[in-house]
């Protein structure tokens, strides 16, 4: 520090840039990074070389070879004729699916329980705290096994399925729901739905400007509901309801038709959601409690209704405390989804690092690719959450 000051206060003297501590810092950091990259590369090459000399095949050519095995669930068309490269994509998408759905449901459930813990109703608050204390103290793997082996597997066999209105069926092979089949014109309904969303965004901006300028309020909520839901529904009926449903039906051993949600996905999703929600609930509770009580009182003194105060004053301030730890819960959830392999959900670890690795034996390449996937998922999530955090941060006017 002191040298820094000395340089700054000394009269400007012509000296080599190398003496500038900042420049020097950059040079050393660049050198360090270059060294680390070189070091990693040498290790990688060395490993591959050693493996080659022991007769172990290396390289990425295997990605073009036919896989020869089937996968339980795939979001893209896949058969055993496809390549190992495609098994990578199938596994990746299955991981993204369960992580995405998990984050969505865990956030909703976590917020509800976090707010419930602060409820003035004794029963609601107690139920919420029992939930949090139980779920976050039981290892996640046990919870996954509980849902899978204790709850879903004992369901009846397909021939004795539990039947909801002959449209939805539950059995030990999964949950079967009717599949929507698009008719002519459904595209238009979807386009209008998205136009409704865009329209609402503009409307919200316009309404805010108008309120700032004139103080007049606009019923934003109802108007956007009308745009996003009402308009598409009207279009749907004007076009003659262009949507039919394909019902699941028992044929041979299993149900055919409809959409099938496999029990492995349901169990994993339930476990990830309820487990992570217990942590999110604590984060939300802490966030709300961190907002000084004076804020609530000040709002009341200004005559602002409690619900409005919560929405406009408490939650925005609480969010600043909530978002950073929330991000790390999202990252945990994404990484925890790799426990899928324990119950046979075909995520990237099970399909790619499991079966593909075993059939090809190319451990180093496959493990590196799988690690890369988790790294990219985590970095994307953090990037997005940091951006959101910035947009929520205190703006000084």
């Amino acid at each position: 520090m002191s040298t820094n000051k000395d340089i700054a206060t000394e009269p400007k003297r012509k000296s080599s840039a190398l003496n500038d501590p900042q420049v020097r810092g950059y040079i050393f950091q660049t050198l360090l990074i270059a060294f680390l990259v070189w070091f990693g590369w040498v290790i990688f090459q060395n490993t591959l070389h050693n493996m080659e000399s022991r007769g172990i095949t290396t390289g990425f050519d295997f990605l073009q070879n036919p896989a020869g095995f089937e996968i339980l669930m795939s979001l893209i068309p896949y058969s055993s004729n496809d390549t190992y490269g495609r098994t990578f994509v199938v596994g990746l998408l299955n991981t993204v699916l369960v992580a995405g759905l998990g984050i969505f449901f865990a956030t909703i459930l976590g917020f509800i329980i976090g707010i419930a813990r602060l409820s003035k109703n004794w029963l609601v608050a107690k139920v919420a705290s029992v939930y949090v204390e139980t779920l976050r103290n039981i290892p996640l793997l046990l919870q996954i096994f509980f849902w899978y082996f204790a709850v879903l597997q004992p369901l009846p066999s397909p021939r004795q399925s539990i039947d909801f209105a002959s449209a939805v069926f539950a059995n030990n092979r999964g949950l079967y729901v009717p599949a929507p089949i698009a008719g002519d014109g459904l595209g238009a309904v979807i386009v209008i739905f998205f136009l409704g969303i865009i329209g609402s965004i503009f409307m919200v901006k316009w309404a805010r400007k108008r309120q700032e300028a004139t103080g007049q309020q606009f019923p934003v909520l109802y108007a956007s509901l009308g745009l996003i839901i009402g308009l598409p529904i009207i279009t749907y009926f004007i076009l003659g309801a262009p949507l039919t449903w394909e019902m699941p039906e028992l044929k041979g051993f299993n149900f055919k038709g409809g959409v099938r949600v496999i029990p492995e996905l349901i169990a994993l999703l339930l476990a990830l959601t309820t487990y992570t929600a217990s942590f999110i609930a604590e984060i939300v509770r802490a966030g709300i409690q961190s907002v000084a009580h004076g804020q609530t009182e000040a709002a009341a003194a200004l005559g602002i209704r409690r619900s409005v105060a919560l929405r406009l004053i408490i939650i925005p301030q609480a969010m600043r405390v909530v978002i950073p730890p929330l991000t790390s819960q999202y990252l945990n959830l994404a990484k925890n989804s790799s426990l899928a392999t324990a119950i046979g959900y075909p995520d990237i670890v099970s399909v790619f690092m499991g079966t593909t690795l075993n059939q090809t034996g190319q451990a180093v390449e496959i493990v590196a690719m799988t690690m890369g996937v988790y790294l990219v998922i985590s970095l994307t999530l953090s990037f997005f959450m940091n951006w959101y955090n910035k947009s929520m941060a205190l703006k000084e006017r």
């Binding site: 290790i43 493996m51 172990i56 020869g68 089937e70 055919k256 046979g344 499991g354 034996g361």
Partner: protein, 339 residues
């Protein structure tokens, strides 16, 4: 900085060197350690199963015990490492075990690209199907649309896809990591079928609460030669593992058993003399003592004894010799001559 760099480069060179050093000398390692490290399955009745005291029994287990007897003179000096199908090759490649003896099928890909060598076949098998009797299925060709429980990282996964594709049928695979999970998936009704090598189907069926509720279909859809394997690049060790099994098969052919091996030491038959080391230097050529095969046969038995004790008609698995009979009795078990 410079100093640190040279330390790191030194470490790198050291890893590179030690990696090549680990390639040879398994025999010396085993002798120095006084113990054979053997990879087996996590629990498959008849092949490798620990009892409640941690004693392992089974055909794959005995295959390792015979090697320990030949090399160390004591069939008990084996440390067994239970491995799932997914873990087994890495365990062998990384040097965690000396031999993998875990109902592993000898295939072209495994032999050519994993850096391992199969040393022989201790059980000729083929893939089959087990179904719940209640389904009333009598042939594998009636299985269109079925859910199938399988274990990850096996040849089973590949054969299954081929078989259904060839016969124009569809199926949905439910893939688990361990055989216990696979059995539980089948028992709970998550799957209609469990598929695996036939010998393992009988073994897994004996693990069910009520084995009589399940039945094994007649079809055999693949060739599964199961046998021990070692790391590629250590030919001396490869020869020892290979010839221990051959010695046991030759012993059966020559009528040498654990019960009569001591009297056989006086045999006039030159084949028996070479086997038991009373003449010739078969042991020395392997880098072992003259009594290498004697110890293996005395302590573990010949191939037939090993088979009968673990999976034969008098065991719960009740498997007949079939393909695993000696070539002289219409089977495939045939060992090159010991001379």
């Amino acid at each position: 900085m410079k100093k640190r760099m040279s330390v790191l480069t030194g470490a790198l060179v050291a890893t590179a060197v030690s990696a090549t050093a680990a390639m040879a000398g398994t025999l010396d390692d085993v002798k120095a350690r006084g113990e054979l490290l053997c990879g087996v399955s996590t629990g498959l009745p008849g092949f490798s199963l620990p009892d409640d005291k941690g004693n392992w029994t089974g055909l794959d287990v005995d295959t390792c015990r015979a090697i320990a007897a030949a090399v160390l003179g004591d069939a008990k000096k084996v440390k067994f490492t239970p491995l799932t199908a997914k873990e087994r090759f890495t365990a062998l490649q990384s040097g965690e075990i000396d031999v993998l003896s875990r109902n592993t099928t000898w295939t072209h890909t495994r032999d050519t690209s994993l850096g391992v060598n199969f040393t022989g076949v201790n059980y000729y098998d083929g893939q089959g199907f087990m179904v719940q009797k209640a389904l009333g299925v009598k042939s594998a060709l009636e299985l269109d649309g079925a859910s199938v429980c399988i274990q990850a990282g096996t040849t089973t996964e590949l054969n299954l896809a081929d078989y259904f594709k060839l016969n124009g049928m569809k199926f949905s695979p439910v893939v688990y990591d361990t055989s216990d999970q696979t059995v539980s998936g089948f028992a709970s009704g998550r799957c209609d079928i469990l598929t695996s090598d036939q010998s393992q189907l009988y073994a897994l069926r004996s693990k069910l609460d009520d084995p009589s509720k399940a039945e094994v279909l007649p079809e055999v859809i693949s060739k599964e030669p199961l046998g021990p394997l070692v790391r590629q690049g250590d030919d001396a060790w490869f020869n020892i593992v290979k010839w221990t099994l051959f010695a046991q098969i030759n012993a059966e052919e020559l009528g040498v058993t654990s019960a009569n091996v001591d009297t056989m030491l006086k045999s006039e038959n030159p084949n028996v003399q070479r086997l038991l080391g009373t003449s010739g230097d078969a042991g020395a050529k392997l880098g072992l003592g003259a009594n290498w095969a004697y110890e293996a046969i005395k302590q573990v038995g010949n191939y037939g004894e090993m088979f009968d004790r673990n999976v034969g008609p008098k065991t719960p698995l009740q498997i007949s010799r079939g393909l695993n009979a000696l070539w002289t009795k219409g089977g495939l078990q045939y060992a090159p001559p010991l001379r």
